[in-house]
Amino acid sequence: MSTCSARPALLLAAACAAACGSGQEAAEVPLPVVVSTRGAAAPATSDLGYQVTLVRARLALRDLELTVGGEVHGSALARAWGWLVPSAHAHPGHASGGEVTGVLPGPLLVDWSEDGAPLGTAILLEGDYQGANFTFRRAGAEDDLAPSDPLLGHTIELEAIATRDGDTIWLSAVLDIDEDTPLIGAPFSLEVREGIQATLALALLPAEKIEGKTVWDGVDLAALDGDGDGRVAIRPGEDAHNVLRRAFQVHDFYQIDVR
């Protein structure tokens, strides 16, 4: 195990790389992270034929991680980044997301209503990045939300308009995802070298292009509109909630764009 003493966290990786015998210091590259609204409001047609357009989407997460593929002289750098990344990667298979060598730590509340809204500055070691992870949480006091905010105590808040066969349904949903649930392997591709100028933008994409799946698949909105008033509210404890929250845990629906 690394015996490096406590130092400002972002210097730890470089210091340990030298102290632990790799003989190579890695440059730290700060890159701003913002919200990307690309694709969020694009209509997505579900497997049940609903064309759904997101009007509002907010997500509470923490610890955005950026990953490189393969083993990073595995040891010193990876263990150093363990200091920065509080989430536990305890089970085999997690490493399939790649080695974490970039991070924007701490709680983030992502609101996909304003393109370019700042989320913070990530620090990345030089490398060829291939993916991104983050951890779901419940919105809380650290988010400075009004007591009446529907996201408070929950993970995701959604509002959307769905149409099918000429009928329109207004959907609102509040989703709970268990604290510390990881999302592994969102697409992100960038060769990070010292001096690079780039902005990372977190995008929510309700429809993925390869298999045509959408986050709305399996949700029969008309069946949920029991009173026929054109409004459906999905809340924790309901079957539709469980279907939706599974979808929002799939990495296919997120991406880190590079600007």
């Binding site: 083993e71 595995g74 085999p92 490493a95 399939s96 268990d178 592994i184 404890g237 469980n242 845990q249």
Partner: protein, 273 residues
């Protein structure tokens, strides 16, 4: 159980000092496989959140491609042949020896192994009948047993054919002039986890039992019955980005996570092939 013969194909490689082991003398490294008490005595009710208890009649595993290295030194122990082990058999808490070799001194913290079907697999401690079951069925793992709760009983006989390579397993054996042992540890409770991504899933059987209730109600939970369980509306049994949709696929996915090292030690890579 009948004693097992050491494989004839072991290779012990002469090499320089292992990482951090310049002053350590060589010795005998033994690699064992163990299903721990869960496999040999069962998983008790206090482990399950829903009160079931599971016992195993057979836990057959096809294990091969075992290697051991000290740090980034060359592999010092290599046992490629695939053998079938019954982890439900009593081992007195020690597991079963898979391979051993005289190796240079060092901390053997790079262990690798593979759980995969093999048509030419031979017996470790398994019977000839068990070997035929595994080789003929193309299986890497087979579990047979029953779950009980109060007066309820559900049996199961599940065979899995997935191949999983475990690498960079952080073994704790240190060779310094004497023998040491590293143990490939199989955690059978993983088969009953109720979450593929949570750091601390529950161990549960209710949904598995319900699969038979929704099926032919004959008291045996089959793979087909489990495959008919759609997880979409379940509050638990979260699957993250795995794409798993039914309960059989869920359990099958978990078979690639049972491999550990020296008890609770983890392997840096567990790759389902």
């Amino acid at each position: 159980m009948k004693p097992h013969a050491l494989p004839a194909t072991l290779v012990a490689l002469a090499l320089g000092a292992a990482c951090g082991g310049d002053d350590l003398a060589g010795g005998a490294l033994s690699v064992r496989v163990h299903g721990e008490a869960f496999a040999e005595e069962g998983i008790p009710a206090d482990v399950f959140v829903d009160g079931w208890a599971v016992t195993f009649d057979r836990v057959l595993i096809a294990l091969g491609d075992v290697t051991a290295a000290a740090g980034h030194e060359p592999v010092a122990l290599e046992a490629p042949e695939v053998r079938i082990w019954d982890l439900a058999a009593s081992s007195g808490g020690a597991g079963f020896e898979v391979a051993s070799a005289e190796v240079p001194g060092g901390a053997y913290d790079h262990i690798a192994f593979r759980v995969a079907p093999a048509a030419d697999a031979t017996a470790g401690n398994a019977s000839a009948e068990d070997v035929e079951l595994m080789t003929g069925g193309g299986l890497s793992l087979y579990v047979e047993g029953a779950a009980e709760r109060g007066g309820e009983r559900k049996s199961f006989r599940w065979g899995f054919s997935g191949a999983t390579s475990y690498r960079h397993c952080e073994g704790t054996a240190v060779i310094d002039g004497g023998p040491a042992t590293t143990t490939l540890t199989m955690h059978l409770d993983h088969l009953f986890y109720d979450d593929l991504v949570a750091a601390e899933p529950n161990v549960a059987f209710d949904l598995i039992a319900a699969a038979d209730d929704a099926g032919d109600r004959d008291g045996e939970v089959t793979a087909l019955e489990l495959a008919a369980v759609d997880l979409a509306t379940e509050e638990r049994y979260q699957v993250g980005s795995t794409g798993v949709e039914d309960l059989w696929s869920f359990i099958d996915h978990q078979t690639a996570t049972i491999g550990h090292i020296d008890g609770e030690g983890h392997c840096g890579e567990a790759e389902r092939e």
